[in-house]
Subunit: 409 residues, 2 copies
């Protein structure tokens, strides 16, 4: 009942618990989306071809469909003459059959008429009325894309977890598919707690500050494939926090709270979880973000992030984001978001805790940002953060560090 | 009148013409967006702070606000006793003034009471009723974030062209800003032309194929910051193409057509441009994509891409995308989209034209995709393309090549 002591968790332990918890409580879900609007969505299943491509024997060139034998030995000096018996445009077909000594004028993309086994490009032909001079011999199958040669019906086209870039969207469109099953983004409510918080456009009052975490966390959720829903600000009281969480649980898979003060909200959320749910983690051996709370209510995950925006964002990225990414069908860590840089000056770490330090990148240098832990401008300047393991007291100037980027546009 | 001969342009020349044309016809425009929904939007102007941060002298810790002088020489063995005259929580303030020998209990984030110049952390204090034992001396300003110390009012907060990641969104939220000016995405209509084209879900008929380019190009536009609008399929006729372009011009900044056959649609679009606009480029010395047309009508850009989806996408990425990105406030080329890899086998190029060859990436190897130029599955397999300059006839196995990626999730 709120008094039980939970041992502070080390980073690896906390990460393992989080991963197990996510896997126990959630499994990836799918939803349908129109191909047209599927940019950057993630395929939920393998997609097989439902038709042959091309769907028919198709001309790759403008020219004349003919029997290749009729062109053998044709040269500019000794052209072969054929009788043009029809014309076929892309999108239509000819009812006639090409016989020896005949040809049919054909456009790129049109169906190959019966009897023809090759195309002579228009550049090597001369047409006058219904007579065509062929100036160059063509081998069988010349400039014909055979039905199913691109892909046969029922073959694997795109694999599950393919991220739909414009080219892959084109591949799906070629099959005439209108909608496709993609990973559904988990719906995650974001609640900011604190008596000191004002919402945007509220008049500034002495002692108050504008809420940062609702928008920052909501968009951090979006950045890792989740569907973040802003639930606004609630007062730092048991009743309001409990009620906001219960309301959010009705429509969300996960609820993420962040609180004004470590003592205050940590305690409130802790009490709510003790009463109507379960506390799983209270405290992680990290800096910043030690007072993080993880719990569950009705088999749904409840996260309590610190109120300090820098701490809240870092804890979100380190412990929550990889799990949301997995649910959304993405790799837990995005490789392109980690870059190597050289530390521009010595970075001290706090003893006994994993530390996450903000840095700015400039010409392959990682420049530590040394400000109050609550400074919002540190976020304005930062490009990402560097992890300093518990056992490391300092990283010296000139050492290579890995920077986890906040942005990867 | 459609008969004028336009010299085929080299790649550099075509790129220069495109850039000048874009700069002449368009300038970046802004629109307002709610901060909440501003993920990955691009700031249209510098943003200055409109308030001090913190807006007041703010406590960084839970503890007691006091006169630092009162704590000098305090130790665990010789604690100093102060009288606690009030309590102040985050979001509120005390009307009392701290005098010598007094203190006020304070929460993290609360306003520093008048008279106090430091905070003694709760961990080094013992409170009983209204008496507080201070176990450790604190220097002046200890654990106080001074008003404006994070950022002063009217200072530069974020620069024009900042891409709004969750942390930067937090920075704007801290100022209580609700809406912000961002680069407005240019609106670009996409028209697919061809008698052979079916729209998704249409019943397959002999000689027809499903339209690929509408969805592929629309989403390629989105991928570079534009607002792609699908206008669907039109027949390969002068009247339909002209009418579709005129309709699209009413609501769009740019119109991008792609056509079924090089001869057919190239000619139709060429005639429309000759009649009601102007042809600027007809033919670029590249493979694929030679029959590309660039023109303008009513001071708006009209692009005619090849009908072949591979050609259409590559021409779009090479000649159109950098200009759309610039209009959208982004860098012309996204550095993270170009990676270096080792060619897995010899790649031949066509003489006299810049060639773009599709490759697949596997373990730092770039594997050329050798298929018919129209093969849709080449897009399913491809991760990007390699440029082979006009003067290069082949690139040997084992050479390093730069791969332009189709995707960068």
């Amino acid at each position: 009942m709120g008094t039980e002591f939970l041992k502070i968790k080390e980073v690896k332990e906390a990460n393992d618990i989080m991963k197990k918890l996510f896997n126990k409580l959630y499994s990836p879900k799918s939803e349908e989306v129109a191909i047209e609007n599927s940019y950057k969505k993630v395929l939920f299943q393998d997609v097989k071809s439902s038709i042959n491509l091309p769907p028919f024997n198709r001309s790759l060139k403008d020219g004349f469909a003919l029997k290749s034998k009729d062109t053998f030995e044709a040269t500019e000096e000794n052209p072969k003459m054929l009788k043009c018996i029809d014309t076929v445009e892309a999108g239509s077909f000819s009812n006639k059959t090409v016989k020896q000594g005949e040809c049919i004028e054909i456009s790129t993309g049109a169906t190959i008429p019966d009897g023809a086994d090759a195309i002579a490009m228009v550049e090597f032909c001369e047409k006058e009325n219904d007579e065509v001079l062929i100036l160059k011999s063509v081998p069988p199958k010349q400039d014909i894309a055979v039905k199913g040669s691109d892909i046969e019906k029922n073959k694997l086209l795109l694999k599950k977890r393919t991220i739909l870039s414009p080219d892959k969207i084109g591949v799906l469109s070629a099959q005439g598919i209108e909608k496709i099953a993609i990973f559904k983004s988990p719906k995650i409510s974001v609640i900011s707690t604190g008596n000191e918080l004002l919402k945007e456009n509220d008049e500034m009052k002495y002692g108050k500050i504008y809420d940062v975490n609702t928008n920052a966390i909501k968009n951090a959720i979006i950045s890792c494939g989740g569907n973040g829903v802003a639930k606004g600000i609630v007062k730092d009281s048991y009743g309001e926090v409990k009620s906001a969480i219960q309301q959010s649980l009705k429509t969300s898979d996960i609820v993420i709270c962040s609180g004004g003060t470590s003592a205050g909200v940590g305690d409130v959320l802790r009490h709510v979880l003790d009463d109507i749910g379960e506390v799983i983690i209270h405290g992680i051996s990290v800096k910043p973000g030690k007072p993080t709370i993880i719990g569950k209510i009705d088999e749904k995950l409840i996260v309590g992030l610190p109120g300090n925006p820098v701490s809240a964002l870092i804890i979100f990225y380190v412990f929550i984001a990889p799990n949301i990414r997995r649910l959304a069908g993405l790799n837990e860590i995005e490789k392109s978001k980690i870059v190597t840089a050289t530390l521009s000056k010595r970075l001290h770490s706090s003893k006994g805790r994993m530390q996450y330090s903000l840095v700015k990148l400039e010409d392959h240098l990682a420049i530590p940002i040394i400000k109050d832990s609550g400074a919002i401008t540190s976020l304005a300047d930062a490009d990402g953060y560097v992890k300093i393991p518990k056992s490391v007291e300092l990283i010296d100037k000139g050492e290579k560090v890995k920077v986890n980027l906040f942005n990867d546009y």
